[in-house]
Subunit: 123 residues, 2 copies
């Protein structure tokens, strides 16, 4: 839509603005990946699922439904989102599917988990 400059302020530093635009252009792919991860983690239920998988190493949808006091289909649909983003993998044992974090892909979550626990301590 808007491709022209809207700021007419004397103070507006057009060179600065242009540099910002260029910086973002070069990082577009990185932003998309990070936005994807954060939008996954930015839900109460999904953040708890991720935290629990970090804590327990692996859990099945049924366990998660019990712990989070939610229906199994609701959990399953959250899991699908998380899995589609490449954050978790599954292992089958009989009828049960165990999900676990792909720890290589998701180092940022370690900082997030630490930060959650810091909030707890300082609150």
């Amino acid at each position: 839509m808007k491709l022209e400059i809207t700021c007419t302020r004397a103070e507006a530093n057009h060179k600065q603005l242009h540099n910002c635009m260029e910086t973002l252009d070069n990082m577009e792919e990185s932003f998309q990946k990070m936005t994807k991860l954060l939008s996954i983690a930015g839900s109460d239920v999904r953040l708890k699922i991720l935290y629990l998988l970090n804590l327990e190493n692996e859990l099945c949808p049924c366990d998660l439904a019990d712990i989070l006091k939610m229906s199994v289909p609701a959990i399953s649909q959250h899991i699908r989102k998380i899995k589609d983003a490449g954050i978790i993998s599954s292992r089958r044992d009989g009828q049960t599917l165990y999900y676990s974090l792909n720890r290589d892909e998701t180092e940022i979550f370690n900082s997030i988990f630490e930060s959650i626990e810091l909030i707890r301590k300082t609150a």
Copy 2:
């Protein structure tokens, strides 16, 4: 809704599940705060706004609209969300409002910004 145990698997470790529930209960407030921060950051536009404020220290809505090639009201509404979450503050200079990060409140964003730049380097 569901308060009963749904897992009837022999392997289900009910003590483990109960411990998880208790852990989450004790961290409820921390999860809510972190979910709020991540849901704010989990939007392409808002993550870029935060990144730019980190980079440039302060910017006005008009600058952000130019850099992100979006309308001023759209930017303003994102800013309101970020501000309501306590992540940024404003300073007025004449007609212009300059927004900046409340750096004490948002240490997790430093990890996120670093992680974005790591994606860029390793991709």
